[in-house]
Symmetry: C2
């Protein structure tokens, strides 16, 4: 724990900065991060001797990205502004693919193409919630992905509330039948994002359980950690033959209000309107581009994120930032020279609604060897940890990555596991991978809400992400051959 | 500035606490405040000798409120939960008056009554905004109070944008005619709330100016300091004979998005739907209650806030907290014994839409002498300053208030001015008053948005407010006669 204690000392040194910024919590956090980034960027100072275990070319690429990357900002600013929301399978996601092809070509990547696939399309309609009794008032609700429609007239029923998915599971059918079910939870905000799995159960399992017990509809406390009137949507699937019912998420202040109302002990009646629609089969696609390697026979390094977003926000942290970070890092390698291995950028389609893009890529290319799979899909706050699963034979490579990332304030975690959303099934199949973990403390404040907009991205932290990714690609590239002429497009 | 420097030292001592809470900006701020409250509560420690200039009975009432007041929380929790939004002149505001009468009677106050008055009623309808070209996407909008309706089909027009109200004022009519006007601004978050006057001009003057120049409609950047998809509504009036036009506020992330889109240089077309309605004359009222003084011939001390709220949130910080603080402080005095002077609680109606409650009270009682007018209408964050306007002859009373408040970390400001919303016109008429200023740094993050909900109130800071108000009432009461039996209802 000595390393942690050292970090504490650094933070204490920045405490005066923290106080000066106390006016704004967000700017306070940003100042803290900026101070840490400055501190960790100390190898740049010529009087401070860097570790001999890190290739100076790798260190130079890393530090240049930290100082000056603008590619990632340009991508996420452009996509969120010029396309905005881009729900999977809709015309908006189609516009996003066209935008992506133009952008990746303009950046100078090779082999830019779309691999299309079919998928079922669900869209949101008009939605509202209202307490009719005992204390009439409106509430803010959003349909969950794949919710059934209430029809324009809505449904009205008595609320039956459970404090957890386990409480709903234990309830007799008679308690649930014909009611509007409410499921609460206490998801915490953690740096590693843990909590989303366990506390996301009301959204993922609640609708099926409620349907099986005969409920009229279900509303859950949004799976999130904020206190704004912005409900968190997200996909769910009716499984085990359960009949689709209307299923929504209340914003967290509304869920807490509902609990206060229920605690008064009188029957609570809600009117719920969710005019969601299934549009049948539509088209999505993965957008792919490459930095061709000097040796095309070597397996490529796949770097990616997902192009689609939920419909309520503009998909800045989820996942405009991710595709931006992946492509910006690849661009920085390309601008430095030719890597030995090919770097393949994949901007997956239709991730949010069921990993359709990742599964399509797997079906087409999952049997081909890959040097590594890396995905960014957890916002753009500072990367704090690197995990990898490259196998025992490549332990030295994994350790070299950790050494090269340490000056960015990134700890080396496991050498035996990696994760990712679209790439998850392929990692499960045994393909090698690296995982660069962003700080998730505020990720679930914003995730899947209308608040997922560009202003939530801190440019300084975004640059730290690009620096980390550039570092990993520089180490894995097999060596970058600098151009004979220093002038490159 | 020495006093400030001392405060800095205190804050530095709390820096480790700050770091430990860095996970959540809000909890960070709360910990900071809690540390300061603990520090400032040091007179409670029996080994620390208090100032001889503060009456020990006053100090005891102050410190007891800081430690344990629950009345204010009970009021704001009850009103926001059991009534929720309560727009002036609507049936919901009527329910709020009934709730208020029940609550004030249950707390044991005397002479609980409603003074009703008529007023014009405006209500929000369905509303939406959408960029049609060049980058189709929805935006989040809220009608401003007194907006004209677009009708259900909405209006569609080209956006003409101005960076300030001055830029709109300078524009030739031909530039504005038939367009949808957008007015931007850069309102800062300041502790004293300054900025709302100057930077609120787009909302207050923009609609009239745009109408006079022939605009189709107007949208302004929300008058606020946050970055959430929650638009800030607020009242405006078409003056100088200007014809009402549709007028809305975009959320701040949407306003910034619109600026980014405009910067691309292509014509921008918006479809705006605001189905607002004027319902004609309706009824509101002021709810009044008293702690009768031992000498009914003496002028009363008026303590108040406003009972109505905007319709988007539940009116927790604006102004459930204010009426709660005023009544909780009066209750604490009443429970301690009988004050010499009467304390009159006024929960004003219809403040948000034009100070109708304050003006009605002024018309009925404004010529009667009052010992002081005090209003709370700026949230529930820590009170940091006390101003007063009691006149030269009562300088000693004003200074005694300052001395008694200092242990709460409250600085004494002006002895020549005080302010308040409903009480503002009467202070202008020359009635005496005291102003206890809350920290407004985060007030305009939430003000007039759907996010004005109970979770935004920090119970510890709310108690500091009640302690400050109790202190002021204790000093001004003319002396509290303790009951012969210590048992009181």
């Amino acid at each position: 724990m000595d390393a942690n204690r050292d970090l504490m000392v650094d933070f204490r040194r920045t405490a005066v900065t923290i106080f000066h910024c106390a006016a704004s919590p967000l700017s306070m956090v940003r100042s803290l991060i900026a101070a840490v980034l400055l501190a960790t960027a100390s190898p740049l100072a010529s009087q401070v001797h860097p570790s001999p275990q890190v290739d100076p070319k790798v260190a130079a690429l890393r530090d240049a990205a930290l100082e000056g990357d603008e590619h990632a900002w340009d991508i996420v600013e452009g996509l969120t502004t010029e396309v905005g929301p881009r729900l999977a399978g809709t015309e908006a996601e189609g516009r996003a693919r066209e935008w992506a092809v133009r952008k990746l070509k303009a950046m100078g990547f090779a082999n830019v193409r779309v691999e299309p696939f079919d998928m079922p399309v669900w869209v949101r309609g008009h939605e509202s919630a209202e307490i009719l009794a005992p204390f009439p008032q409106p509430m803010v609700v959003a349909a969950l992905g794949n919710s059934a429609s209430t029809g324009p007239g809505g449904v009205t029923g008595e609320i039956v509330a459970f404090d957890s998915i386990d409480a709903l599971r234990a309830a007799p059918n008679a308690m649930v039948r014909g009611k509007i079910i409410f499921v609460d939870h206490r998801m915490p905000a953690n740096q590693d994002g843990s909590g989303y799995g366990q506390f996301g159960a009301p959204r993922r399992q609640g609708p099926t359980l409620a349907s099986q017990k005969g409920a009229l509809a279900i509303v859950v406390r949004s799976i999130g950690t904020d206190h704004h009137r912005n409900p968190h949507t997200g996909v769910m699937t009716f499984s085990d033959g359960a009949k689709p019912i209307p299923a929504g998420a209340l914003s967290i202040p509304d869920a807490e209000q509902l609990v206060r109302i229920l605690k008064r002990g009188q029957p609570v009646t809600m009117k719920l309107v969710l005019e969601s629609r299934n549009l049948g089969t539509g088209q999505s696609g993965n957008v792919i581009a490459e930095v061709p390697g000097r040796d095309p026979s070597l397996p490529p390094i796949l770097v990616g994120g997902h192009l689609d977003s939920w419909d309520q926000g503009t998909g800045a942290i989820d996942d405009g930032a991710g595709i931006a970070i992946a492509a910006a890092a690849a661009k920085r390698i390309m601008d430095a020279g030719r890597p030995l291995r090919t770097i393949r950028i994949v901007w997956f389609g239709a991730e949010e609604v069921g990993l359709f893009g990742g599964l399509d890529y797997r079906a087409r290319h999952g049997k081909e060897p890959h040097h590594a799979l890396i995905e960014s899909d957890f916002g753009a706050d500072k990367i704090w940890k690197v995990d990898s699963k490259l196998g025992e034979a490549r332990k030295a490579e994994a350790e070299a990555i950790g050494k090269a990332l340490a000056p960015l304030g990134i700890v080396t975690g496991s050498l035996a596991e990696a994760d990712g959303s679209d790439i998850g099934p392929m990692l499960g199949d045994g393909l090698p991978g690296v995982a660069l973990s962003q700080d998730g403390t505020r990720y679930f404040d914003i995730h899947h809400t209308p608040d997922d907009t560009l202003d939530k991205i801190d440019p300084a932290q975004l640059r730290q992400n690009v620096a980390a990714w550039t570092t990993v690609l520089a180490v894995m590239s097999g060596g970058i051959e600098e151009p004979k002429s220093r002038k490159r497009r």
